[in-house]
Subunit: 283 residues, 2 copies
């Protein structure tokens, strides 16, 4: 069964939240589950099914809505630190004691914080369209980015502006990704609210307060890390992927051509193969 | 005339030093001279003529021995800061007011310091096999590296161990580079002394004292920078190229395959073309 056909499931956690999630992939003894952390304003339907299905070929893949997001109950917090604790509460409710994490955009911020908060729980870390806390020039997103995806109603055209590059090939890939995401018509996830948008953007801006000293924390992320970005991302430029790869002791980095914030949807087959190679590599 | 056939020239600087140098390439009005800063224990003969000749196709290229090194007079200082001032004295003696700089290894440290000391003089900066001051894990080179290239007499085999990768292709490229460097039999440069080796390694270790705060200085290097490294460099791993590219605001980075500290000699044609593209690019 593909990602588009999975039912939405719910799990009740010790923090009082009922979390919406989807659970797919191969239950191999040889792998730990890969848990995905979603982008700004995204819900369960905002993952490209082509990417999830490719990742799920060889391992269990779990997507979820964090507290207050989409179909999960509660109020979205306004700090990455609280989002990390909320994600840990979900993992505990699912009975997961060791996972691989893939964090995308704001989800990559949460993933970094989880790795620093509970390092023994994270076997390997994938950071997509990511940036480190405190990096110079990351205090909020560019006005044109917020004009596109920060307003009350985001159009498909505005989404394409930020998640895909300007070339015809990238735009076409974007339209195909949107078609895959909207192919599901029944039992779609609850749309994220304006309150979630406001809290998440506060968290993004707090994360981006320039503080050079905070960059040093990345030296403590000592599991293998794969850092990946689109070469033309207007939301989080690849500059920050290099910074992550230069500060995390055991990181590899790849910049995908002719792509933007949604490079992992555009290059879904290549990215899934790269993630698979990373998760199964010796080093 | 190729690099191997150039005569050694001397210029007297205001600091009392007579600097040995070689001067080649096209005297185009459209370009500023490209000045090269050499690696640990290297002299004028330690540049691969194939690389210099490729770089010199479209621009003037100047190589020189810094104070106390090879054929230059004086005593090699034990800090990168003083080496930068000594290089600036050479540039003044040559009547050069604006240059592009290519720093290789310890020469990349000096190049960074020059860019921070006199930014108006540096149009563009190429950092090859480079690392930033204060980065974690850079306090002196690995024991096996110093066993190879830090002892009183360095054999060609030991040079190949550090400057080229383990593959047959890389080793063969290394032998060919050495052949090109040793093809010149007359008027070779003076061999660098043990005193130079000692002072330069003190400078390398001082540069490598871990100090996270110093990394922030790179944010002030605001000219375009091209950062390049071999993927298997045992002396300065590519990790530090990512760190440079993540801290310098306008940097591009390229990691060359199956190569080590001397990637720029192994991949001389590709690297020279990349440098040319960088120096002539709009951005």
């Amino acid at each position: 069964m593909g990602y588009s056909d999975l039912r939405n499931e719910m799990v009740s956690a010790a923090n009082g939240t009922d979390y919406a999630y989807r659970d797919t992939g191969s239950r191999s003894e040889a792998t730990v589950p890969l848990v995905l952390l979603q982008h700004f304003r995204g819900n369960l339907d905002s993952w490209d099914p082509a990417l999830i299905d490719a990742l799920a070929q060889a391992r269990r893949v779990v997507t979820f809505d964090n507290v207050g997001v989409g179909g999960s109950t509660g109020t979205t917090p306004d700090t990455i630190e609280q989002m990390a604790l909320d994600a840990l509460a979900f993992l505990a409710a699912m009975g997961l004691s060791e996972v691989d994490l893939l964090g995308f955009s704001i989800g990559s911020f949460v993933a970094q914080r989880i790795a620093l908060t509970r390092p023994t729980m994270v076997r390997r870390l994938v950071l997509a369209s990511a940036a480190p806390q405190g990096a110079a020039g990351m205090h909020g997103w560019a006005p044109e980015v917020m004009d596109a995806v920060g307003t009350r109603h985001t159009s498909p055209e505005a989404y394409l502006e930020v998640f895909f590059a300007r070339s015809a090939a990238s735009r076409q890939a974007g339209k195909e990704a949107l078609q895959r995401m909207y192919a599901r018509t029944e039992d779609r996830d609850t749309v994220t609210t304006w309150a979630t948008r406001e809290a998440q953007y506060d968290a993004v801006c707090i994360w981006g307060i320039p503080d050079h000293a905070l960059l040093q924390r990345l030296g403590a992320i000592d599991m293998p890390v794969f850092v990946a970005n689109g070469d033309s991302d207007p939301m989080i430029p690849p500059h920050y992927s290099y910074l992550l790869a230069g500060l995390i002791p055991h990181a590899r980095v790849k910049i995908y051509p002719d792509s933007a914030h949604g490079f992992l949807f555009q290059h879904h087959a290549e990215f899934a193969a790269d993630v698979e190679a990373f998760l199964t590599s010796a080093g």
